[in-house]
């Protein structure tokens, strides 16, 4: 007999979400197939330290325009245990809301000094830090005036840990109407960076963003939890 899991929600006012969200409930994975649903990405990551500094295209190049910010935090499982040496991929829009991706046809200005793509690894304590430019909001639905609030995309691969998420900014007026934020409900709080003062270096401020990867997956093979 089929056992059902979640019914996924469709993001309000999000056309792509309407086109791509499964209408049937998810099927619950039977225990006999459980381990086969925990993909393990082999650790073959070679990272240049400069990739964590997204405020410049390369060391020694001019600073990108906009507010330079630090984003830092700790990568953990639900039990507070660090997820070590995980690959953290970051991408975000420039201060005008434009991406360097060749499929971004919004026509928003591009900053020649901002790539908007970075990578870093979590430390042996699970800590991470990267530097970037605070992204601008962009008009996602001109027909109804719905904006995407400023956000930084993050992708985490650490052995069997896998999460793709976004960090949002506190008190942004566009947060309230974001389709995915609406689906998250009150738990949206967990996806907001907490502002802090930065005294070293030339930064406007920092944001603390602890990333907690839920479920059994983060430590399924590395550290079995019953």
């Amino acid at each position: 007999m089929t056992k059902y899991g979640r019914q996924l929600g469709i993001g309000p006012t999000d056309n792509t979400s309407n086109e791509r969200t499964p209408r049937n409930k998810l099927n619950l994975i039977p225990e006999a197939a459980r381990t086969s649903f925990v993909p393990y990405a082999p650790r073959a990551h070679s990272i240049n330290l400069a990739e964590a500094d997204m405020t410049r295209i390369a060391p020694g190049r001019p600073r990108a325009s906009g507010e330079a910010i630090k984003v830092s935090g700790k990568l953990m499982d639900e039990y507070g245990r660090p997820i070590r040496n995980a690959l953290i991929e970051i991408w975000n829009a420039n201060q005008h809301g434009g991406y360097t991706h060749d499929e971004d046809h919004s026509g928003l200005p591009i900053d020649q000094n901002f790539l908007g793509i970075g990578r870093t690894l979590s430390s042996s304590d699970g800590n991470y830090e990267f530097w970037t430019i605070k992204p601008g909001a962009y008009l996602a639905r001109p027909d109804i005036g719905r904006w995407r609030p400023p956000h930084i995309h993050v992708s985490i691969i650490g052995g069997s840990s896998r999460l793709i998420s976004q960090m949002y900014f506190p008190n942004d007026p566009h947060n309230a109407k974001d389709p995915m934020r609406i689906l998250m409900g009150d738990s949206f709080e967990a996806n907001i960076g907490k502002k802090y003062i930065v005294t070293d270096g030339d930064f406007d401020c920092g944001y603390n963003f602890d990333i907690i990867i839920g479920g059994k997956n983060p430590t399924f093979f590395e550290n079995n939890i019953t």
Binding site: R6, R20, N27, Y40, M180, A190
Partner: protein
């Protein structure tokens, strides 16, 4: 109802969010090529087993190709053995095959070159697919080979209604060539599985 200390002390997980339309293709290993048989190029060693190509596509509720999806594939080697942290020094590991590859499809089509997976742990041969796309959170499913007798005993296939099973079948179209359509929503929707509650 009783709770263990572990449950009481759990931290609130960070919500998943959509990958959005602009995942940078350059972040995928091996320059975004989807070939599991070539983890170290330019050497004489190759993974054991039957090399196959699976041509596939991802479609939306209107039957349109779903552009910009990030696809991740995971499977055991030809002996049915998974490469994982707890197995990596085992003699059954094929040193030339990790069973993992990812790819951002620009237009919704993909072509995976791999080794036909073996039978693992009482399962019919299958490939786990993780799908990230704009507008949705992560989706997961497993794809099977239509011509495998062991499908009739597979616990995952048996856990879903019979009429849905054929939607997870990769069909053979020529020698070592297969095809699959993944339909994210609507008519003939691909069955997806819940990765969080189990």
């Amino acid at each position: 109802m009783t709770y263990s200390n572990k449950e009481i002390n759990r931290l609130t997980p960070t919500n998943e969010d959509t990958v959005g339309p602009y995942y940078p293709p350059s972040l995928c290993e091996n320059n975004n090529s989807l070939d599991m048989t070539n983890i170290r190029s330019g050497i004489v060693f190759k993974p054991l087993g039957e090399k196959i190509t699976i041509k596939g596509c991802v479609k939306d509720i209107d039957g349109k190709l779903s552009n910009g999806c990030l696809l991740e594939f995971w499977q055991p080697n030809s002996q049915g053995f998974y490469y994982r942290p707890d197995t990596e020094s085992h003699e059954m590991v094929d040193p030339w095959f990790t069973g993992y590859a990812r790819h951002r499809t620009k237009d919704g089509n993909f072509s995976l070159t791999t080794i036909k997976p073996g039978v693992a742990d009482g399962r019919a041969p299958n490939i786990t697919v993780t799908l990230f796309s704009d507008g949705i959170m992560r989706l997961v499913t497993q794809l099977f080979f239509a011509d495998e007798k062991s499908n009739s005993d597979d616990p995952l296939l048996l856990s879903i209604p019979e009429e849905l099973r054929e939607r997870l079948m990769i069909n053979k179209v020529a020698h070592n060539e297969y095809e699959i359509e993944i339909i994210m929503a609507g008519n003939n929707e691909t069955p997806f599985f819940d990765d969080l509650l189990s």
